[in-house]
Amino acid sequence: MAETMQGPQATPQETEAERRRKEAYFTASQGQLIWARFRKNRSAMIAGTILLVLILMGIFAPFLSPYDPTIKGRNADYTNGAPQIPRFCDEAGCSMRPFIYGVKRERSLATNFRWVTTIDTEDRRYVQFFVEGDEYKMFGMTFDTHLFGVDEGFIHLFGTDDTGKDIFSRTLHAIYTSLAVGTLGVLISFVMALIIGGIAGYFGGVIDGVIQMVTDAIRTVPIIPLFMALAAFIPQEWSSETRFFFISIIIGFINWPTLARRVRTHLLVERNQEYVLAAQLQGAGAGHIIGRHLLPSFTSYIIVDLVISFPYIVLSETALSFIGLGLKDPVNSLGVMLQNTTSADVLLNYQWYFIPVFFFIALVMAFVYVGDGLRDAADPYSSSKK
């Protein structure tokens, strides 16, 4: 008969490594289990890597980009310029260092004395790394070193737009802006959703009913007309930063109902779990139950919800900026950059304007895949299995 309770059956053939692996599984906290499951999902891991790269590109944008993305850093001699891809070899021979060709701008007879830019294949400009360039601020400190540049003139990996601004630099900064708006919006949504959804879910009853009505009412508000109205309200004098915060806050406000509903649902479910009743029967107060049982129980869900709402917020901001109701130059986000792509001229002649689109798609898809992967990793754990 059983004397001690048997844990995992340790058959004689079990190796030490197997035993340790099993013990790790038994003592793994929920976070560790979710991470272990997430790691096995290949598409999620790839998306996660891409997401990480993009985020780092955004954070270190001022360092990674050779020039200031605003008018300050523009190259007046090379407007609507095609991308300059560094190469190692040409007719004159190969070199260890990558180089690009210099460009010259002159008034040409052929085009009725309009500016024409020609590429001078004799003029090699070597790409250098860690060059000194425009000053920028990062993490509160001022730097002036950029990852790469050329010894003379400019290098435009993604080409330039109609005023000569470097699209590569603008893209990287745009990623940062979009992410910043997204983060701010998500944070605002989240805090509001947690409070409002939390109250509705925990207390239930009449309070829940009233909050539900309010939430649903807000959800029905159509975004575009709302923004059009708001855009009319925004004074022209507001600086781009203020405008930036304003847009983020508004987007956060629009999105909280969805999150709040999720929080409420999670709470309603968890509140009726038997282990909550067990805590109540020990005389635990509401604070203890919320802090010790309810909140941890849906932390994983909330993180998944946050990651999944991120692309929606980025999309909202992009869409709004695209139609001119959101951020405006000089603050550029991916949406603002996409605004410039709407003319036929661009479509026919300056296709490199579309490069930011790929970054945008990559960013949103990466979020979606990571969110999905997280949700799949979190779900199996929460369903009780026999």
Binding site: M1, Q6, Q9, P12, Q13, K386
Partner: protein, 336 residues
Amino acid sequence: MTAPLISVSDLTVRFHTDEGLVTAVDRVSFDIAPGEVLGLVGESGSGKSVTAKSLMRLNGDNTVYDPASRITVNLPDGPVDVLGLRRERDLRVVRGGAISMIFQEPMASFAPAITVGDQMVEQLLIHTTMSKAQAKELSIEMLARTGIPEPARRFDQYAFEFSGGMRQRAMIAMALSTKPRLLIADEPTTALDVTIQAQVIDLMKDLVRDFGMGILFITHDLGVIAQTADRVAVMYLGRIVETGTVRQVIRHPAHPYTLGLINALPKLSDLDAPLTPVPGDIPSPLNRPPGCVFHTRCPVAIAGCYVEEPAMRPARDGHLAACHLTEEAVTEGMTA
């Protein structure tokens, strides 16, 4: 000797899981003759549900059937190899046509937003060539047959308007309306009150007699098996450890697990007997013991049990047990 209704041979089912390839059913073989009730007894983790679902190919996408497994259903038109079926159309024959299944949670089998009658008619329309009116008539008749009062009125009601016992009867009615040759009952009475359970068991026995179909009755309750089944197979960790007629297995258990189960049951006839659990815990299916799957909990295990897997040896005519020890040795060892 008539051909069996269904013949399962060397069924091995594995699943792809996070932790690797898990064997849920290991070389299970049994036959069910027409009009026979075979009880499949086992506890959680024994693989009995997976076995049942395999007969209708209802297991999930991550299922891997071993190439050596065979499930053959003998229909009037000829035998059907269930595991070899590829197209949805062909699978329909075994799903609800020749084979029907009833489940433990009757609330889960009925769609909540459609009336019970509509669901029964839908099933008939899929599997037979009846008209809608004929299907309705047959459905009401089946509801009456399973003892539901006012069947015509109940036909138009929703599942939530039925009580637990009645829902189970309605599910039986629905399962039987296509006149299946084999009925698989997966823990049909576990969720019911004991007085309702008794009614449902009686109902099933009557139906077997009237319809002449076979039943695969899955449960963990040996008492229900004793009253309902003709033959029984005891499963543990995916293997069948003992099989025989109900009288043989319950009165003269030859396998230590079966004997352990019987001893662990509280019996009204002997209130002084101590409750003796089967020692230890069921191993995880990821960690199936070598040799005899039961040896880690077996009170009478010998050295050979760790190493060599026992074959099914006959204890008497028609009664087989997978144990290295003889029935006498087992009984002696466990009562000592």
